[in-house]
Subunit: 343 residues, 2 copies
DNA sequence: CAGCGGGATTGAAACCATTCATGGAGGAAC
DNA sequence: GTTCCTCCATGAATGGTTTCAATCCCGCTG
């Protein structure tokens, strides 16, 4: 049951049909649609607009992309869209892209190198105009993009891949501020919950933790590694609680982990921040609603997304604009001990 | 600094280049690439494969889409990707689509009719092969898709739009089970936190709540409406706590709201589930890690996503396969009072 | 040996929009 | 009246791929 249109067009309407209907050439239709530099007489334009409306003409994006060599699309590769940090990022990137009339193709690598490779290949084949990479498990695959001359932006990627621009946050500085804050509360044994590090380089957050401790002349607290998820954090929390020198404060490298840690601590009947203080990294909304509310290092996700998109499709598109670093901000709430709360 | 390839191809490599290099016609290349029905001699195939590898040939998706009239892409329109329910949905839809070689274009309507319309238009112009609509604010805009002959699937959309297939969960049944569970705990004054209903029809969850109450011969508890967000839930919680006949149990129509409600209750120094029991709808992971863990009605998001995608690009693509309903499941945890916990 | 069948390969049309070079008409200036 | 210029409009080429119809070549059969 199609809706009763005034004039039901059979099959797809092309710009040729419009031209015929309006009694002009196809070129004129093109000029009208795109408002090109070429002038079109007002009367003609009206005729064409009329024809477009009557026939329900809809430009064919594929043909346009073929001719123009641009799909008005950007790709995004993230580990997992159900992780709040990345879902917020996707949203922000989509917003920024839509602002410029670009569409966003979303792909999840799920921590799999093979999947990541497949996605990158696929995006390259689709002639996307740029790719935001927030998950780079295997750098050699980036040559796919380079070969296809597709600009890419790396997000929060530690060791800079040569030839690619990047956008991110100073992970080490952010982590240091948080750990220093914990130190300020008098803690001397501060544990760390990290992701399993895949890169050859040390994660910035781990560096920041180390720096803060050594600057304060403290010994390293226990380190636990695991997935950046609530479940991973839960397991990490249990191990930290059971560790020989149980820390009195924990810095978690993501809010998700901190949420899991909080649960492990609650279940053990230990109080936060009374017995153990917690701080983490990301600044997600969820951290604001945990109990107690998490003190966390905020990343300016929106600004980062906008910068990434603009590096891809802005005026200076794909010029490998080097590395943009954004400032973090410590959101002080209850889990660090700044406000006494009952748990 | 491009990587040193054996043979750096200048500019994009087309199938013509491959044909020339391999000493065959372009048609053969096409057959080799697509493994069409036409047979290609093994020797020839090897030559072509070789040429493809050496030249680094990459088929042009735009040209392919133009010729085939299919972009191997599906669109997804959701209210907000930073809402965990929808971010999980996006992920699941992306997975299901990628499984079939399709890419996913993600768009957020942010609750704006204008944005939703723009996105639907844009998707239609891009000749996506199907659209999953999880946010339908304004049904008339759906004709855009109908006109463009693009199949669409509605997700959890109450009143069925004629001519569109839909996938969802029996919201009323799910809500009823949860509310009945609360009644089973002896509660007689059960409040409701709902979204602001935009549809002319009553939301299924509200219906389920009403049914469970009337079946048990109970009076309606207080109703509060607000955004499906943590902040919305927080405000709702405060209002429920302050209401004249403060309920001893609350059913929230989304986990996000329940999380906010939990915070409001905590801050008021009231215990959950001791003084007020809480149950909600969605079955998100976040609900498992709240404190106390939320009893919630699980939606089989993955199955729904797969069904939606398969309705669009499966064997019976876009045949308006009617309405598929999936079963919900009550995940019983602590917030309803089934396990005594200290808060 | 002629004819035939069939598998492998080819050439060219079609898909739809963009854009350049060209053409024509009309007005203004001399 | 002629020339020149401006302003609009047009035809045709272009982009990369798919696929039909046609061709070619080889071997087999009668």
């Amino acid at each position: 049951m199609t809706t009763p249109t005034v004039q039901a067009p059979r099959g797809p309407v092309t710009r040729k049909d419009v031209a015929r209907y309006a009694g002009v050439s196809t070129a004129v239709v093109s000029y009208v649609v795109n408002g090109g530099p070429k002038k079109v007489a007002p009367a003609t334009e009206a005729k064409v607009q009329d024809a477009i409306r009557v026939l329900g003409y809809r430009p064919n994006a594929a043909a346009r992309a073929l001719k123009l060599g641009s799909s008005e699309t950007i790709g995004l590769v993230i580990p997992d869209n159900s992780n709040p940090f990345f879902s917020l990022l996707s949203h922000a990137v989509e917003d920024a892209a839509a602002e410029c009339g670009y569409a966003l193709v979303l792909t999840n690598s799920d921590g799999s190198v093979a999947k990541e490779r497949r996605h990158i290949r696929n995006l390259a084949a689709r002639q996307v105009d740029g790719v935001v990479l927030a998950s780079v498990l295997f750098e050699p695959d980036l040559v796919e993009l380079d070969d296809a001359d597709i600009p890419a932006v790396l997000l929060n990627h530690g060791d800079a891949a040569p030839g690619f621009s990047s956008v991110g946050v100073d992970l080490a500085a952010g982590a240091r501020i948080a750990v220093e804050h914990l130190i300020g509360h008098g803690h001397t044994n501060i544990g760390l919950a990290m992701g399993t590090n895949t890169a050859n380089d040390l994660d910035g957050r781990e560096k920041g933790w180390l720096q803060a401790l050594s600057d304060a002349g403290l010994l390293e607290g226990p380190i636990v590694r695991g997935p950046f998820s609530r479940a991973g954090g839960y397991a990490a929390g249990q191990r930290l609680l059971a560790s020989a020198n149980r820390p009195t404060a924990i810095f978690a490298s993501s809010d998700m982990q901190a949420i899991g840690i909080l649960r492990a601590i609650h279940e053990a009947g230990v109080s936060v921040p009374g017995d153990i203080a917690v701080a983490s990294f990301d600044g997600s909304v969820e951290a604001e609603y945990s109990w107690p509310a998490l003190t966390t290092v905020e990343q300016p996700v929106k600004a980062m997304a906008e910068a990434a998109v603009s590096a891809l499709i802005g005026a200076d598109r794909g010029k490998s604009a080097g590395h943009q670093l954004f400032p973090t901000k410590l959101l002080v709430r209850q889990s660090c001990g700044c406000t006494r709360t009952v748990t």
